[in-house]
């Protein structure tokens, strides 16, 4: 076991897979010699050579298309899109090509591509370096969508993603690359070394795709969250004293309906939290699913706490960010409803 932050854990996952499987290649902007703008691929080109860790032109559509071609030709490409906000030039290649190749060829062709991309705000990134577009991708059938909330899961889920024969879009909440962020930007940063999930095995292990995790057991209410918001929700739960069960969704698609709905059917109350905008957001899918499965057990309307339906504003990011106060208010409101 080692102490790792999320950057190191992700780096370790790729290191392990490059070592174990000669089919694994990394490609992306600045990922090679420089090691990535967030340092996630640091040292890997030096270790595995420039044919396995490739710097690419600045062309997200080209990166994803090339990864698809490589995947068809027997490699297991891991493509980095430098910011999730930059993924849209490659959207057609993801939606029309990567996600549907297996289907349209009735299983005769497939491309086992993993697309890693940092998402989320709270780093003064403004509207083009802060987005959380997971719902856009979860809506597309034929890809898996993953977002870890801690170093242990990050490594285990990334290894599972690279080993998966299906394409995976792997979102990395960059606000928690270096430590678990509780939503209060004025407190000193807490490093992952102080967190139990900063304990990460050096070698190979998997965290399964498609499984949510109960990160805090509770009786009165279920909070569904993922990524950075798991930690913010946890702080809000502590602040309010509500005996809430917190579930880290971890995989947006395919969704672990059973874990989520078993919990809500038991607690009878539910709050859904995500950083992305609200309208048509992933929370809508969670709420709809919970309502379908748990309606007769619900004691109160389900609440969503999300980013506002505006672009992520540079100057007002803490007014935009669905922080502890907004989550706490939703928790209280759901507890008070009868």
């Amino acid at each position: 076991m080692a102490r790792m932050n999320m950057v190191q854990a992700l780096n370790s996952a790729m290191d392990v897979m490059l070592e174990r499987d000669p089919r694994v290649v990394l490609l992306g902007e600045d990922v090679g010699y420089f090691g990535g703008v967030f340092r996630v691929t640091e040292g890997l080109q030096r270790k595995y050579g420039e044919h396995r860790v490739l710097d690419t032109p600045i062309a997200e559509g080209g990166i994803i298309a090339a990864a698809i071609g490589m995947g068809v030709n027997g490699l297991k490409p891991v493509a980095e899109i430098q910011f999730a906000d930059y993924i849209y030039p490659g959207f057609d290649q993801v939606v029309s090509e990567l996600a549907r190749l297996r289907y349209r060829s009735a299983g005769d062709f497939h491309a086992p591509v993993t697309i890693r991309t940092p998402c989320g705000g709270g780093i003064r990134g403004g509207q083009t370096h802060s987005q959380s577009p997971e719902a856009i991708f979860a809506h597309v059938c034929g890809i898996k969508v993953v977002m870890p909330s801690n170093p242990y899961d990050a490594k285990g889920l990334l290894i599972s993603s690279i080993e998966d024969e299906d394409p995976v879009v792997f979102f990395e909440p960059k606000r928690i690359y270096n430590g678990p962020f509780d939503g209060d930007p004025h407190k000193p940063a807490i490093p992952w070394s102080a967190h139990p999930r900063g304990e990460v095995p050096d070698g190979h292990y998997r965290v399964p795709i498609g499984r949510a995790e109960i990160v805090r057991a509770g009786k009165d209410l279920t909070v569904l969250a993922y990524g950075t918001m798991v930690h913010v929700a946890d702080a809000a739960v502590r602040a309010t004293g509500v005996d809430a069960e917190i579930i880290d969704v971890r995989t947006m698609a395919p969704l672990d309906v059973d874990t989520l709905c078993t919990s809500v059917c038991r607690t009878g109350r539910c709050v859904v939290v995500h950083e992305a905008t609200r309208f048509g957001g992933y929370g809508a899918e969670l709420v709809a699913t919970v309502q379908e499965q748990c309606f007769w057990n619900l004691e109160a309307p389900i609440q969503r706490v999300t980013g506002w339906d505006t672009p992520y504003p540079h100057a007002f990011e803490w007014e935009y960010f669905p922080g502890q106060a907004r989550i706490a208010a939703a928790l209280r409101q759901v507890m008070e409803s009868a």
Partner: protein, 427 residues
């Protein structure tokens, strides 16, 4: 007058009712363009992107340094493949008009592109076609019955009823799946080629797009990645003059040749007479040899003409002169190869008629067999429950539930009762 900016909106030289006019087309005489060594530097051979490589002369003889010197038997095979492609297209169009398939796309007039290129490449080379290179399947020996079954979406459909007609693929034959979204295959071909080089394999990739879809960003991605990594790939741009109703000027063809885009990226661009079987074969062979020797990519512009409608849903009489095809200065690829073989004393009109008859009968027999596996409206049909397969490798729980929902609806409908209980349970 105060100067002001004005848009130039391209307009084709002739519209319906007007005389066809191909005076814009620069055509080099057969045999006139020098053939450089395959190791030549891209910047040293930029003339190839402006001139036009042609081998077949007016007297039907093969001329000049690009003559690939194919044996008569190989030329006969090429003629056979082109004619089969044409007859297959003609039949499928008729079948579509009878309402027995929903849609079709012919390659009439540009058969030499797929057939000559398919023949010049090795079986292990991976092909990433657009929807108008059915000749590649013919060359590689894909049973026409399978292609027809795909168009029929029947029980033998390789796509299991998931794709419109002509969106074929053939994994065993190393022919990639056709998307339907334009140009996406172009940078994928480059990625495939990069992987071949990473793995140290000898196979190369070839991709095809039309001049119209070269306006997509995917073209630029493909060219940039191919140039940057010197990927072993042949990038073919089939300039058939028309993208549905817009002529090649709308893709930027008025200012430079499409082949000239190659040198802009540091890639050799070769402009070739796309209706000259020998010339297409020769430039493909050149580009393939270059790619296999780590010489990197080549952009080939095949100058040809889309003699047919864009698809069965299109009516070209509304936007171009009906007689344009007859006025096309580069002729008909089938006739030109036939005439060449006759000039060589290796073919005759009688043999051609016999071949025509033989292939037509073959197409008829294939169609009969294909129909026996089901049609859109009758005969054996695919199980709709298969629509839930292959979304992911393993069917996730939500899809399993949806499949059961459809199964219940279908069995209830078969029993004449609504599947109320099951629908309510699922929501």
């Amino acid at each position: 007058m105060t100067p002001r900016s004005r848009l130039h909106v391209p307009s084709p030289p002739a519209r319906p009712g007007q005389e066809p006019d191909f005076s814009y087309l620069q055509i080099s005489p057969a045999g006139a363009v020098p053939r450089p060594d395959v190791t030549a530097a891209a910047r040293a051979i930029e003339n190839l992107s402006v001139e036009m490589v042609r081998v077949l002369g007016e007297d039907h003889r093969a001329l000049g340094p690009w003559n690939p010197h194919l044996e008569p038997a190989e030329l006969q095979v090429g003629l056979r493949h082109m004619l089969l492609t044409r007859l297959f297209d003609d039949r499928m169009q008729k079948i579509q008009r009878q309402g027995r398939i929903s849609f079709y796309i012919k390659s009439t007039g540009e058969e030499a592109v797929a057939v000559a290129q398919g023949m010049a490449l090795k079986p292990g080379d991976m092909l990433f076609p657009s929807y108008r290179q059915q000749g590649l399947h013919v060359v590689r020996g894909h049973n026409l019955v399978e292609l027809m079954c795909q168009c029929l979406s029947n029980t033998h459909d390789m796509c299991k009823g998931r794709q419109m007609p002509i969106m074929y693929h053939w994994a065993k034959g190393n022919i990639f799946s056709i998307s339907g979204n334009l140009a996406t295959q172009f940078p994928q071909a480059v990625g495939w080629a990069m992987a071949a080089a990473i793995k140290g394999e000898d196979n190369i990739a070839a991709g095809w797009i039309g001049e119209g879809s070269s306006a997509e960003a995917d073209f630029h991605y493909a060219m940039t990645f191919a140039a940057v990594y010197q990927a072993p790939v042949i990038l073919n741009l089939v300039n058939n003059q028309w993208a549905i109703s817009t002529f090649q000027g709308f893709a930027g063809g008025e200012h430079k040749t499409f082949a000239q885009r190659g040198p802009g990226y540091g890639i050799p661009g070769i402009r070739v007479d796309g209706n000259d079987f020998l010339a297409v074969y020769a430039v493909t062979q050149w580009a393939a040899q270059r790619a296999r020797q780590s010489g990197g990519p080549t952009l080939i512009e095949q100058v040809t003409y889309r003699a047919a409608a864009h698809s069965t849903s299109d009516d070209p009489s509304r936007y171009r002169p009906k007689e344009e095809w007859r006025a096309w200065p580069l002729g008909d690829p089938v006739t030109r190869l036939k005439d060449h073989l006759i000039a060589l004393g290796e073919w005759s009109e009688e043999r051609h008629r016999a071949l025509h008859q033989e292939l037509d009968a073959h197409v008829t027999a294939c169609w009969k067999e294909a129909e026996s596996y089901g049609t859109l409206t009758g005969g054996p049909s695919l199980d709709p429950l298969t629509m839930f397969e292959d979304v992911l490798r393993d069917m996730p729980p939500d899809l399993q539930r949806q499949r059961e929902q459809l199964r219940a609806l279908r069995s209830a409908a078969a029993d004449g009762a609504p599947a109320a209980a099951s629908v309510a349970k699922e929501g």
